[in-house]
């Protein structure tokens, strides 16, 4: 079946602009996660959704970052007033469940964001 998809695959923007990154999880997966992977590092947790609600947003670096999942499926990560330090690969993952026992997270290919 179809895996996790992310669009766009690449996004180049200018400092100060607003960007939206989209994630389509595997059908039926209730849990969705966003990670950020900077060059030469492992992914860093940003936010976890269970259904429509953000169950844990403790990884969001500041209030310029926001994510939504209004219908419990597709999610959008929104970054306001982008800065050069936001340049990274943004990864999305989904799983059947979330907390209360490990559920394998399936990852999308990521969106490479470059802020000039």
């Amino acid at each position: 079946g179809a895996g996790v998809s992310q669009t766009p695959s690449n996004k180049v923007t200018e400092k100060g602009k607003y960007v939206e990154l989209r994630c389509d999880p595997i059908s039926g997966h209730t849990a969705l996660y966003w990670y950020r992977q900077s060059l030469g590092q492992g992914p860093e947790f940003l936010i976890y959704f269970q259904g429509t609600g953000a169950a844990d947003d403790s990884g969001l670096p500041n209030d310029r970052f926001f994510a939504v999942r209004p219908e419990g499926s597709v999610s959008t990560l929104k970054i306001q007033r982008t800065e050069r330090g936001d340049s990274a690969v943004y990864l999305c993952a989904s799983s059947l469940g979330g907390a209360g026992g490990y559920n394998e997270q399936f990852f999308g290919p990521g969106t490479r964001l470059t802020v000039l």
């Binding site: 492992g42 844990d56 990864l91 026992g101 490990y102 559920n103 399936f106 290919p109």
Partner: protein, 113 residues
């Protein structure tokens, strides 16, 4: 707090020889541990996981890892490397919440013909 250290940023082996990718972790409680693989331009894929059952864990593509609590290690091994194994490998520990994964910096595995 939980943390993961991958001891080598790059490992280079010849095709057909054994692979060893080293990982040490720190956790204030009994962790779940994972290895993920990332091939170029592809999503991260789970290789194997340890969740407090058998300490020797077998994964996909002939990889296995052994959980050693006394050494706080979870090294990844494969008896014979294949060209298709060339990729980046991440050692991961679960946070206090099972969904929150804490990642090592990655080890790039290079396979020489």
């Amino acid at each position: 707090a939980q943390s993961v250290t991958q001891l080598d940023s790059h490992v280079s082996v010849s095709e057909g020889t054994p692979v060893l990718l080293r990982c040490n972790y720190s956790s204030s409680y009994s962790p779940s541990l994972f290895w993920y693989v990332q091939h170029p331009n592809k999503g991260l894929q789970l290789l194997l996981k340890y969740t407090s059952a058998a300490t020797l864990v077998k994964g996909i593509n002939g990889f296995e890892a052994e959980f050693k609590k006394s050494e706080t290690s979870f090294h990844l091994t494969k008896p014979s490397a294949h060209m298709s194994d060339a990729a980046e490998y991440f050692c991961v520990v679960s946070g206090r919440s099972n969904y929150q994964l804490i990642w090592g910096a990655g080890t790039k595995l290079i396979i020489k013909p």
